[in-house]
């Protein structure tokens, strides 16, 4: 490089580094082209039906609850931690809110039930966070315990589904509003999009958000640089708990009532969506907006399979295969990335 013309050399480097940057950008956002391919694939097999506005709207609507729970998982993964309890937190807090409104404080306004849901989620998150950050409990074991405790806790609260909930409690997950041009559309879709944009904003634009990436990238370095890593981790778990609870609330509205199985089944899909959305299991990398792509990919595949009249029991197997494919893909991409970087 030293014997190139002094004027051309920087230009040359600039052009090359721009191309490299473009390739890296594509690799970092790979989920969207994959989603597009999946969508086109099912549209070809199900002409007319799959591309209908109604279908797309339904696809987004069914993704709302999972979307919130995926965000709950993603923020923990980005901080270099782990949360196995997101599903049971969603189910437990939604059930607690439902019982609060029907049994513990019947007649209380639905909004207070929503508050209960979010507080229960936040409290469980706080418990996870404090024990992990302050006591040094391994995140995997800690959240495995909370997974088991609160999955059981749901049944302790109620082994039956709770219906007859106030409209205002169900509103976030159930209501449909009329908007010109795209009307009518479920509010849950807006809530989900709001959560994705909101968390993306917090993680990419605020000091706290960048500290989450720093702690996830290298906790010791973050601490040496003066970041209060304990506080960051505790806050991450509280946010995760609140997001999981929001997911539980959305699912309750979607189902028209709180069921004991709401939420608990969402752990693996949430995890899968986060990973295929490019969130690194090692922490410090990934963009939460891409996990929306992961959520939508899972939604697209299961909607497609259902509409093709394929046995619904196959869906989990297919999701597993999708996860495996994603892991393989990201492993290859990672190696390619390393090579690309070492050429710089």
């Amino acid at each position: 490089m030293s014997n190139q013309s002094p004027i051309l050399a920087p230009l040359q480097t600039l052009r090359e580094s721009n191309r490299t940057k473009l390739v890296l950008f594509t690799l970092d956002n790979l989920i969207w082209p994959i989603l597009l391919v999946a969508f086109v694939f099912f549209s070809a097999l199900l002409p007319e039906i799959f591309t209908q506005y109604r279908n797309i709207r339904f696809l987004l609507y069914t993704s709302a609850g999972l979307g919130a729970i995926t965000l709950a998982e993603s923020i923990c993964l980005i901080s270099g931690n782990f949360d196995l309890s997101v599903g049971s937190v969603a189910g437990f807090s939604a059930m607690a809110g439902a019982l609060f409104l029907t049994e513990w404080a019947p007649g209380a306004p639905g909004v207070s039930g929503i508050l209960v849901v979010l507080c229960v989620g936040g409290a469980i998150g706080l418990l996870n966070g404090v024990l992990i950050a302050k006591m040094g409990v391994n995140p995997f074991l800690q959240t495995l315990s909370t997974l088991i405790i609160f999955e059981g806790g749901i049944l302790v609260l109620s082994s039956q589904s709770v219906y007859g909930l106030p409209e205002s409690y169900l509103w976030p997950g159930e209501a449909v509003i009329s908007i010109p041009v795209i009307n009518p559309i479920p509010v849950a879709i807006f809530i989900m999009c709001g959560l994705f944009v909101g968390l993306w904003f917090v993680l990419s634009r605020t000091r706290f958000g960048r500290a989450v990436y720093a702690v996830g990238g290298n906790e010791a370095s973050a601490a040496e640089a003066g970041i209060a890593t304990d506080r960051v981790i505790i806050t991450v778990y509280v946010i995760s708990g609140v997001l999981a609870a929001t997911g539980g609330l959305l699912l309750t509205g979607f189902n028209g009532g709180a069921t004991p199985t709401t939420g608990t089944s969402q752990l693996f899909p949430a995890f899968t969506a986060a990973v295929i959305g490019g969130i690194s299991l090692f922490g410090g990398r990934g963009n939460v907006v891409n996990t929306l792509g992961g959520v939508l990919l899972l939604g697209t595949i299961s909607a497609g399979l259902v509409m093709l009249n394929i046995d619904p029991t196959v869906i989990q197997t297919v999701n597993g295969i999708v996860l495996l494919a994603a892991i393989l893909l990201y492993t290859v991409v990672h190696q390619y990335r390393e090579r690309l970087l070492s050429d710089l």
Binding site: S17, R205, G217, A225, G226, I227
Partner: protein, 273 residues
Amino acid sequence: MTVTETNPRIEVAGVQKRFGTVEALSDVSLTLNEGEVLGLVGDNGAGKSTLIKTLVGIHQPDAGEIRFDGEPVTIDGPKHARSMGVGTVYQDLALVDALSVAENLFLGRKPVRKLGGVVPVIDEETMTERAERILRDRLDIKLDPDTPVEYLSGGERQAIAIGRALVTDPDIVLLDEPTSALSKAAVERVEQLVEQLKESGHSVIIIDHNLEEVRSMTDRITVLFQGRTVDTLETEAVSRDDIVSMMVSGKPLADPATAGTGQSSTAQHSPSD
């Protein structure tokens, strides 16, 4: 001949630190005077890095005292140390690979602005601008502030770590092996930097295994051996062999004529607790 009046900025007196059964520091005492460059040498595992980490509050001493400007202090952590005017380059550099050069330079202290007058968001523009200035003026290297540090060479990474230590305009600078990954030319730049820092009144502690570098940069040298201070001597008064012999034997030099020149070195040895 240079030291006429000494004004201690940091005093470490009888500091101990153990990790489980490992006694990393058993009895460390030293003084960093205003405007001086103090070298800290010792074999691998002598406790040099542990001492630096204790000075910035990553570790709390089990016994002994740390004084800043004569006042005994408890340092909560790196942020506290920074607020007291201490900048640190850690041996492990403390960089986050996945983050950009600019983000690493401002790790833990990003400039913010108020979005719409209320929401505090990171002021990317100011951050990039200041990062560019540090890279150009302080470190003299050509790097895009947006490059993730994982793309950088070992020397560039070390430069970023040095840059970060200087971002806050500290008046005390702690350098834990800042030159270990550097080429000869880059080492010279660090030597110049240390010189500049000294000239502008900074106090510097530098750890370095290259004794020639230590001898060319420092005013005094403190030797550590298995977690305790062996002696502190005027750089001009000791030979390379003297330092090596103290590092290896853990004993002060026998010759009193040489050993005596270390100014307050003997005074530091008297246990103050």
